[in-house]
Subunit: 397 residues, 3 copies
């Protein structure tokens, strides 16, 4: 309970009232206090579960998952978060190809929301589309509620878009904080967000963008490393620059993996597709040009193959701070000799970090639950006190 | 609470005890009082939700959805209704082609029902099959319960069959009642259920049939309009005739959209397939004659194209009562210039009525929940008093 | 309540503490007391439901279903069991072809389990794989819990593997016990587990193996009958032999259906594929040899066709004890002249036993729930007293 008390006191020191009733789109649209509040609420929810105290705030209600992509992990994370708070999940599969707009979005958003409390959306495939789609749904829901069609306004959680992957980046950051024993210790630490070779193509940009867009707020030295040609969205780099300046950290770029790894405290080697290529792919899909898409795929795979030496090896790990940087990944990773002949990371490195990697992932359901909690509960501190006092067991063993 | 009290008092004036333990197949098999009781219970459940009072009557239990057709809206409506009452949903996908009979129906009905409290069935594709299938399932469940295989007899809700679409028609009627401020004001009002052009083919007959089969009970002047060749099931017209006579309203038919719209208070322009064509299609499917099915489709699309002027335009709307008839639709509509080049309704008309259209749709989950409630609860009035006194919050904010 | 009291007293006489915190893999890995405890808990859960007493022990929590095969019945049984105890179900579809190993199994097991309390696995298609896969998942979950990645260790329920089908065999055995009025009466009864002809191919071996592996523990005369060439796993026959000896019953084999039926008290005629053929099929799948798979299928269907006289006819039934043996089947059965021209059982036999067959099936959700309950609750007797005293209604009617 000691830990719980500390966490609850932390809430008192933070300003996060504006999260109430709002959606969660991009981490950098939220204040630093709001980000810390989300970590804190996530940790409280986890502590409650560890102590078998129910954090069920919904007696009934629906969490709607709207995924353009079939993702087991994200689906389970969202379902777990909803379940923890008492919501049943209904999946809405829109299909990969169909990008709804205007009338259709407005109508669908209303039709699925008569009893929905939360909607989680994952839409990361097309540059310029995913986040825009979420905003469109959000507007429709606001309207639907104001018009009296919906009994409640469902809040949105961005489960991954073309710009950011807030639930992933925040689970990762909470993992860093826990590994250091507190957010104060993060200042001055170096994190290397680096591209790594993968034999597959078209991995989303939202992970590196989410990482630099969040980690740059904590006074860290954030290094983004990738081969020439693997640029990410310039707008997000801009965000990282500004935030690093404000937070007293730094944001630098390099085309050398070795440079990024040197003396790093945290390394995040992961493949992604070049931003410009993803833009082209989005256009090609828009035009229904399947020959063009095929050609682009071939081109990108060939381009990747030029950078097979971008692998997180034991040699590189040895160059990090005392040779003991924390290896991070959003999973699943391309492990050399295990999941592919050559990939993002050497098998021995991955193997050594398996337990921390699973722990990293374990934060995600709680982060999602925290986002829902903060959007739904006007006074989280009071609500937690209420839940603790009630002490209803989650599992009546 | 004032509204809640009035609604509860209304229940006292109605006879609806026979709904307890029964299935809901066709609106016209239920008495007028039973229909009004369903509206009233739906409104009570909605009021409870608005006031954040839990209407959860099941601590655990399953609602099984059995859809021959993949329908997002119906699925969400049913899931919402189940969730509101505390039931988890399990989907049973039987597939479109396979029409189970006899042994198989009996066995499946039992196998899915050991812990099922409700089964919602949507089976509208084949004339003469959907409703018959529901009755078969119902008989099997009754037997299974009497034989002691099932701990409880699950009740059936018809979520759309070849004959009626009771949850839609009742949501529509409740929308009409709300728009007029009470059921007394419905008497003497004119509703035009008219065919409208659509570039797609084979839309179900259950909507127009459901509308004339229900609205003819309220003393309304019900006009059914369609081009020659778009006849609906004669048995349902017969029902509408008799009910209109009994209720002091009227049921007339015309081949002129203009005549139907003239001075109408409510207009419901919507495409459907000719009854005889649907019968032929059912036979062709039975014979597995895919060439015949293809030929029929071509023929029907060509037939539709002869009636492109059957569109709900501003000009037609202007001819309705004071030019202000309430435009209705079960959604999604074929909107000219939006979802198709030319369709059922002009974009400006649709746009003007969007908010009422969404409100119309919003009644459906509550209608379904009311049907379940009335089949499960012996004394609804007492149960509601109990829920209100308990005052457990649906969402403990 | 009388019955409930007797059942609770029975629990006091049994040793089953070792089931707490454990998985359920194979019936013969559990002691006789543990098997009886499972039947008893299943019956208690059923009695509670009949008396409308909630047996919900989870306020929130997930039951994960991991099926390599799409099975409506198993899915509904598992979902019903989870729902009865308060768990929401999340399905993980791994697909039929993909057999995950090592890294992937370990990772997936952790990723789906952050909030999972139970995982039900059905993996019966490949000889030597299904049960091994479950053990691999189990090890990963144990590790994940010990490493602190998982807040709780989810317990596994074997919903059918290549070796055993414990939930089916135990539902069947409980059906036998109920039909005789108690487990004491089972001793000395004869059960014929016999192969029967089916026009389909490759039916799993887990049913006959599960039956002889379980029924041989109760002092029964267990006869396994099949045509030459339809041998089952020798290891399981070995288990049956030893258990029959210990329990004072017998386990014999014959190639004559008539011999098996003679004076039998229970008959279980059901098709299965030869063990050696299933081994070959597993290898062919491993090699991706689709021509070989096709050839094997043709060969097996031809082999089956040699034994069309292995049918459960009225004539055979007449030779059983007083002509009144209880006909059993896991369903669905191949019924001659109903589901196929010629199959496992004559229509009149099946029809006469329909009610007992559905009752047989009705035990399964309760058996699954009992397995979960015993793995989760340290003191089941005390927990039941608590639930009965609380007397919360499952359905607040």
């Amino acid at each position: 309970m000691a830990n719980l008390k500390t966490l609850l006191s932390t809430l008192d020191t933070l300003e996060f009232q504006d999260m109430y009733g709002e959606d969660f789109f991009l981490t950098w649209e939220n204040t630093y206090d709001e980000i810390i509040a989300t970590f804190t609420v996530a940790d409280i929810l986890r502590a409650l579960r560890e102590q078998n105290i129910s954090s069920r705030i919904f007696d009934s209600g629906l969490g709607v998952s709207l995924f353009r992509d079939n993702s087991t992990r994200t689906r389970f994370s969202f379902a777990s978060a909803c379940n923890l708070l008492g919501l049943a999940v209904q999946d809405l599969d829109e299909g990969k190809s169909q990008i709804a707009h205007g009338e259709t979005v407005r109508e669908t958003a209303n039709m699925i929301s008569f009893m929905a409390d939360v909607i989680g959306i994952r839409d990361d495939m097309y540059i310029g589309k995913g986040n825009a789609y979420m905003r469109e749904v959000s507007r429709a829901l606001k309207e639907g509620f104001e018009d009296g069609n919906l009994e409640q306004r469902p809040n949105l959680v961005n489960l991954q878009c073309d710009i950011d992957h807030p639930t992933q980046a925040m689970a990762d950051m909470n993992h860093i904080i826990h590994s250091l024993g507190g957010v104060e210790a993060v200042r001055g630490k170096k994190i290397a967000m680096t591209w790594a070779y993968s034999p597959s193509y078209g991995k989303p940009l939202s992970v590196p963008q989410g990482i630099i867009g969040l980690m740059s707020r904590f006074g860290m030295d954030v290094v983004l490393a990738h081969p020439e040609g693997y640029e990410i969205m310039p707008e997000v780099e801009e965000v990282a620059h500004k935030q690093a300046f404000t937070s007293g950290g730094s944001f630098t770029k390099t085309n050398s993996m070795a440079e990024a790894f040197a003396d790093a405290d945290f390394v995040y080697p992961k493949s992604w597709a070049p931003f410009k290529a993803m833009e082209r792919r989005t256009e090609l899909y828009g035009e229904g040009d399947s020959a063009g898409i095929k050609a682009l795929e071939t081109e990108l795979l060939a381009q990747n193959a030029n950078f097979k030496d971008w692998e997180c090896t034991e040699e590189l790990m040895a160059t990090t701070r005392e040779g003991k940087a924390l290896y991070m990944h959003c999973l699943p990773a391309d492990i050399s000799g295990v999941s592919c002949p050559q990939g993002e990371v050497a098998a021995s490195v991955f193997d050594r970090y398996r337990v921390p990697l699973y722990k990293e992932a374990s934060h995600k359901p709680y982060i999602i639950a925290a986002m829902i909690f903060l959007s739904k509960i006007a006074d989280p501190r009071a609500k937690f006190e209420e839940l603790i006092t009630a002490g209803a067991p989650r599992f009546s063993r």
